[in-house]
Symmetry: C2
Subunit: 220 residues, 2 copies
């Protein structure tokens, strides 16, 4: 990957408005995907849209998600040839933008929207890589510090892959954007930063005494 690699904009990924907020370069898209671990997976079931929150991880130019072999979207991806059309959306909120006018209120955010097709992963090595990446997406370093899946656990897990091709990021950052006529209104205006914060790890009640909280968790 070079800094100039970009996803090709398409009719689906060029917004009808706020085009200045759109980004297509791999570096921006990957950085947003890699900071998140929850996506919202959209697909069509019986003619109606369905959106489910689910864990995901990026490996190279693919996103992976998983679920029980009994779950409906994953069954559909396995049943359908050539795969299940999906939209995968990832959103990080960075700030509340409080303008003097209600109209100019906004959020600072970074989002990625992926249009593509979900395919069931059948290769065992690829499944294992994807599942380890999902554990590491939640806590980097955790996959190496947990018991890998058994053959029975692998058999009970469906992994789906969505390749990154039709992709865009959208970013809103920076200060409020009030109109000149509103600048003297008596309302506070500015940005309130927002970020996820991780609390003190709570050990399992039956944790073997003497096992300390690992460094990769205190680093969160």
């Amino acid at each position: 990957m070079t800094a100039t690699d970009s996803y090709e904009p398409t009719a689906l990924t060029v917004p009808t408005r706020s085009r200045d907020r759109a980004r297509y370069d791999h570096e921006t898209v990957h950085s947003i995907l890699d900071e998140a671990y929850i996506c919202h997976l959209g697909f069509i079931r019986d003619g109606a849209p369905v959106v489910l929150p689910t864990l995901f991880a990026r490996v190279g130019e693919s996103l992976y998600m998983h679920g029980s072999t009994g779950s409906r979207p994953l069954l559909a991806a396995g049943r359908t040839d050539p795969g299940l059309p999906v939209c995968v959306t990832v959103t990080l909120v960075d700030g509340l933008v409080l303008a003097r006018s209600a109209f100019h209120h906004s959020l600072n955010y970074r989002s990625v929207v992926v249009h593509g097709t979900a395919h069931q992963v059948t290769d065992e090595a690829e499944c294992r890589t994807a599942l380890a990446a999902m554990v590491d997406a939640v806590a980097p370093g955790r996959a190496a510090d947990s018991r890998p899946p058994t053959a029975r656990e692998l058999a009970a897990t469906s992994v789906i892959r969505v390749d990154l091709a039709e992709v865009s990021a959208k970013i809103r950052s920076g200060p409020v954007n009030d109109g000149a006529e509103d600048l003297d209104l008596p309302h506070w205006a500015g940005v309130v930063p927002v970020a996820p914060v991780y609390g003190t790890p709570v050990p399992a009640a039956d944790l073997t005494p003497g096992i300390a909280v690992p460094d990769y968790l205190t680093a969160l």
Copy 2:
């Protein structure tokens, strides 16, 4: 509303697995919706699923979202009779669940999935109520402390409504759930709490001197 009011479970809202995590009572569903301000709005465009992150607010038994009159989903809701089929999903992450086995890794979360139809709101009073609720969803108390929309701003804004009828919540909470055979493995196990945290408000560069940060923002 009484504590026993519930949404009727349907084929769309009863999960195929982890049924013990599903909730249908108004109180649980409303509390999740009211704590959030971002939803993921799913709909079908040209036969393909689309999922967009957007601000929302609940007013009674309806969700409201807004956008420019030039935005595609809102135009579609206006064009389509009787409305645009949507799925609105709201997700709050409460913790990282780190089991000894990769297989039992999970997240503590609360989510709501709403299946319904988006209708364009044409009544001006309803539009104003919805827009004020969206400002208050971001920072409770802010709507009264900002300039309301002008007629021109209202004309530039599409508001859509989705009524709460086919609705379910899903909650995972509590400790790790390792199998008995894994309890002696040498890996730390437990839950890392996660919550959004609001930083120190950053005033606009051109804020009129003497306007203090309002109490409803320091309360965040």
